[in-house]
Symmetry: C2
C-alpha cells in the first residue's frame, strides 16, 4: 500500500498477469535478448496496462549500487552555494555524473557530524572537498568499502586527492605582492575545519602558509610583520571583515579566496577607498564575476576541471581500475588591475 492507498504493483503481479515468471519479466526489462520477442512484448504490454515501473530501490539494493555519487560538503549547503568556486567544482562533478548516468547527491554534515552523514549516505562513492579527511570519516569509508576521492585534500596514503600545487600557488601570490614593493600586508585565511586534528600539518591552509613563508623568506621579510585574519570564503564575510582589516593599515590585502576579496573590495570602495591606488588586493580562485568594474588580480585554479577530474577518478576506482597517481591541475597568476606597484 502506498500513499494513494493503492497496492503497489510489483514484478510478481506482472508475472502472474502475463502468465510468465518473475525472471522473464526481469529479462523483459533488463535483458531483452534473453527471452523471445513474443514473451517480451506480451510482458511489456501487461506492464504498460498495469502501469508497472520496476522499483529502483529494490533494483539498486539487489544490484548493490545506487547510481549516485555523494558530494560531501565542507560547510552547510547554504554557505557552500555562496562560493562560486565550489559551484564550479560542482559543475565539473555534475557533468561527469550526467555522462555516466549518475545522480549527484549533496551531503551536508548531518547534525554537524560528517561521520553520521557518511554512515547513512546511500551513494556509490564519495567526493570530499576542502579538508583533510579526519580519521573517523576515512575509516568509515574504508568500512563501508566506499571509494573516496578528495578535492583540495592534500597528501594522503589512503585516498587520492585532486589538487593544485597550493604551496607553489600561495608562493606566487604573495611573491607578486612583495615584488610590487608591498611590505605592510594583511593575509585573509580560510576557516580552519574543526574535523581535522592534524590539519596544521597537512591541510590546505597549512600548505598555503608554507608557500607564504617561502616567499617571505625570499624577500627577507619577517612573517610577524604581516597581519593575519580568518574568515569564511564568502562575499559577506569579506564585506564584514574589511573594516577590521583596515585597522592594520595594510598597503596590500592577500586573500585565500576571491569571494572574500570581492566582499572586501566592495566595502573598501563604499568607504571611499580606491583600489589599487589606496590599497592593493590579490585574491585566489579566479572566479568569474560578471559586470564587474575591474578585474581582480588573483590565482587561477580550474574549479570545473578539478571537479570533473575528481569525478572521473572516482568512477575509475568504482570500475575497479587501479588509479594510483594523485592528479595535480595547473594554476597561474592572473594579472588583473588590483595590484599596484609601489
Amino acid at each position: 500500500m502506498n500513499a494513494n492507498g493503492k497496492k503497489r504493483i510489483t514484478i510478481a503481479d506482472i508475472a502472474r498477469e502475463s502468465g510468465y515468471s518473475k525472471t522473464a519479466v526481469s529479462f523483459a526489462f533488463n535483458a531483452p535478448e534473453r527471452i523471445s520477442t513474443n514473451a517480451r512484448e506480451k510482458i511489456l504490454r501487461t506492464a504498460g496496462k498495469l502501469r508497472y515501473i520496476p522499483d529502483p530501490t529494490a533494483r539498486n539494493f539487489s544490484l548493490g549500487r545506487h547510481s549516485s555519487i555523494g558530494f560531501l560538503l565542507p560547510q552547510s549547503i547554504d554557505t557552500c552555494l555562496l562560493n562560486p568556486y565550489i559551484i564550479d567544482v560542482m559543475r565539473g562533478l555534475g557533468t561527469v555524473c550526467q555522462e555516466n548516468g549518475y545522480m549527484l547527491t549533496i551531503i551536508p554534515p548531518l547534525n554537524d557530524s560528517l561521520y553520521e552523514a557518511v554512515k547513512n549516505a546511500t551513494v556509490d562513492g564519495l567526493i570530499t572537498m576542502g579538508y583533510l579527511i579526519s580519521d573517523g570519516v576515512g575509516s568509515l569509508a574504508d568500512v563501508r568499502a566506499m571509494p573516496l576521492v578528495m578535492i583540495d585534500g592534500g597528501d594522503s596514503d589512503r585516498f587520492l586527492s585532486v589538487n593544485i600545487d597550493d604551496e607553489g600557488a600561495a608562493y606566487i601570490q604573495l611573491s607578486a605582492a612583495l615584488r610590487a614593493g608591498h611590505r605592510k600586508i594583511s593575509i585573509v585565511s580560510l576557516p580552519a575545519p574543526t574535523l581535522t586534528p592534524d590539519f596544521n600539518e597537512k591541510g590546505l591552509i597549512a600548505r598555503r602558509f608554507r608557500g607564504y613563508r617561502k616567499a617571505l623568506d625570499e624577500f627577507s621579510v619577517d612573517e610577524n610583520s604581516l597581519f593575519y585574519f580568518q574568515s569564511e570564503a564568502t562575499y559577506a564575510s569579506g564585506l564584514a571583515l574589511a573594516d577590521e582589516i583596515m585597522k592594520t593599515q595594510p598597503t596590500c590585502i592577500v586573500t585565500m579566496s576571491d569571494a572574500q576579496a570581492y566582499g572586501i573590495m566592495d566595502r573598501l570602495t563604499s568607504i571611499g577607498c580606491s583600489i589599487p591606488d589606496d590599497i592593493s588586493i590579490i585574491g585566489f580562485d579566479n572566479i568569474q564575476q560578471h559586470g564587474c568594474v575591474r578585474k581582480l588580480t588573483t590565482i587561477d585554479q580550474p574549479g570545473i576541471e578539478k571537479g570533473s577530474l575528481a569525478a572521473r577518478t572516482l568512477f575509475s576506482i568504482m570500475n575497479g581500475k587501479k588509479t594510483t597517481k594523485a592528479p595535480v591541475v595547473p594554476h597561474r597568476l592572473i594579472e588583473g588591475g588590483t595590484l599596484r606597484t609601489l
Copy 2:
C-alpha cells in the same frame, strides 16, 4: 565480498558473534529502549570490534525510504549552476533538507530524458523547476506514488507549485518601461522547454507574456511593434545575443532573467554603449551580483524562499499532511539605475 575482497559484515554476523538475535542487534541500533542495557552494550561492543555499520541501502529498502529528495533540473547541471537564481533556489531546498536530515539529490535529465531520470530516481519526493510537468513525468510520479512539488510550474490540478504572480510581475516590469516613455522595446524570453506540450497555455513564459500584453494594452501599444528574442538564462547567452538585439535599435531591453541582462549589459558596455543613457534595461529575478558597477533595475523574486517553501511543502506531503493551497510568494520592482525616463 566487497571491493577490498573482504566479506561484508552483516547484522547476522553480529547476531551470531554476540550471541543475540538479529532483532536484538537491530534494536540495539535503532530502538535502544526495547532491549536491556546489558544486551545493547554487548551487541554494540561486538559491532565495534567487527567494525560493523548497518547497511543504509538495505535499511532504506526495508523501510521504504531514501532520506533524500530529488531536484529535477530543467537543463544540464552545468547550465543550471550558471544561473544564480537557480542556485538561490537550491540554497533554500538544501537548507530545509539539512534541517530534516535529508540529502539533496540533483537529477539532471538522463540521456536527455526526464522521464528516464524520474523512473530511476531513488528519492522520497521530487522538486521540479521551471516547466510545467509534462504528462509523462506527471503520471510517472503518480505511478511511483512520489510526492512532487513544482517551482515556477504554474497551475495544475495534480501538483502544487510555488510561484510568484508571474503575470503580475511581468506586467509591472514592462509597465515600468512604458511609463518611462519607452516604445521601442526588445523582449528577451527564456528557452521554451521541449518537454511541455501544453506549454503555450499554462507555462511560465506564457504567463509572463500575458502580463506583457496587459501592459501593452494599457498603454495602447501594438504588441507587434516590439521585438522578441529567446535565449538561455545565462550570462553567456546574454553576451552573445546583445549584438543581435541592438540591430532592432531598441531604447529599452526587457529580459526574463537577470543573468541574461548582465551578459547583455557587459557586451553593450564593451562596445561603447552607455547604460542607461544610450539604452535602458530591466531584468528579472534580482540576483545578487557583487562588485558591480551599477544596480540593475529588475523584478525581485525570492529564490531562497521559493526553494525552502517548496521543500517544506514537499515534506508535509511526505508526512501525510494534506496541503492544498499552492503557495504564492511576493515579488516587487527594484529600482536600480538602468532604466532611464525618456
